[in-house]
């Protein structure tokens, strides 16, 4: 048996054919694969598409950032205007009081005399 092992192995491992229609299955698979490759965009076009998408996304982000900054500037300006109006109001109030007090004391002096 042992002396015969080589021959037995050759017999056991002899070549076999695949099921009928193997070459047709291979060629149809290659055809399917080729069609898929044709439908998928060439690599240069894919890079261009990716660059356009990236540019659009970047543009949207920059516009959003610009809008936020504009809104912040508007809020700051509003705060400054309110502060200016408050200071002006205080000054006007002070001036009114000074004028009113002077007029009141002058009238008191005239009535006393």
């Amino acid at each position: 048996m042992s002396n015969n092992l080589d021959d037995q192995l050759r017999g056991a491992l002899r070549s076999v054919d695949p099921d009928d229609g193997f070459s047709e299955r291979v060629t149809s698979r290659i055809a399917r694969h080729s069609r898929r490759s044709q439908w998928s965009a060439p690599s240069g076009f894919r890079w261009l598409s990716a660059a356009v998408v990236a540019a659009v996304v970047l543009g949207v982000l920059m516009a959003h950032d610009w809008q936020l900054r504009r809104e912040q500037q508007g809020l700051d300006a509003r705060k400054q205007l309110i502060e200016a109006l408050r200071v002006t109001g205080e000054k006007l109030d002070l001036a009114y009081r000074v004028v009113n007090d002077d007029a009141h004391s002058a009238a008191s002096e005239n009535s006393g005399a």
């Binding site: 092992l5 050759r10 491992l13 299955r25 060629t27 694969h33």
Partner: protein, 201 residues
């Protein structure tokens, strides 16, 4: 036989590389037995072997321009098929565990019929680890010598010889044990935890 199949191998190769589908189909028909058999002996499964063989020819179709001759094509197909099979075996769960009863039943019938012995040998070869299995398949299916096997598998000749020697010793031990002792539990390597036969590592 088609016109593409009748023409000289190199001619068929160059026509296939130029995009002639009939010439490529002829190449597939000519080499399908080689590729499918290697895949089948490596994977021990007809469906997986068919799938792998198709993958190999798909890869060939993409690399036709790099093939220089018919001899180079045969070498390339053997190399790619075996490497893909080894990759697949390494990705999949280790080795199939066969129940002791099933194996002993097969062994006990061996003495009666050479076909059953061949079936047992295929089963045992299919349980060798991937690299030694590839060496045995290339040696006994493709009839390659150790130098050619070493070139195909990108390993040293000494490694090839060592794989061959050890694999044959294991096969001889398993088949010899079966032949002389019949259903002998010591002929099979048993896993003490499960009581099942282990792969021939």
């Amino acid at each position: 036989m088609t016109e593409a199949e009748r023409c000289a191998p190199e001619d068929s190769l160059s026509r296939a590389a130029a995009g002639e589908s009939a010439a490529f189909t002829a190449l597939v028909r000519k080499h399908q037995r080689l590729v499918y058999s290697l895949a089948l002996r490596m994977l021990s499964d007809r469906h997986k072997a068919e799938d792998l063989a198709q993958d190999v020819f798909l890869q060939l179709h993409r690399n036709l321009v790099s093939i220089e001759s018919d001899a180079h094509l045969s070498f390339w197909l053997r190399k790619v098929t075996i490497n893909r099979a080894i990759d697949r075996l390494r990705r999949e769960p280790k080795y199939e565990i066969v129940s002791l009863q099933e194996s002993l039943a097969l062994v006990s019938e061996v003495r009666d019929d050479d076909l059953l012995l061949q079936r047992l040998l295929r089963d045992l070869v299919g349980r060798l680890p991937p690299a030694p299995r590839a060496v045995v398949v290339l040696r006994y299916q493709e009839d390659l010598n150790p130098t050619e096997i070493a070139r195909t598998l990108s390993m040293s000749i000494n490694t090839v010889k060592s794989h061959l020697k050890r694999s044959l010793a294991i096969l001889r031990e398993q088949v010899g044990g079966a032949d002389t002792a019949g259903p002998n539990p010591t002929a099979a390597k048993l896993d003490p935890s499960t009581g099942k036969q282990r792969s021939l590592t």
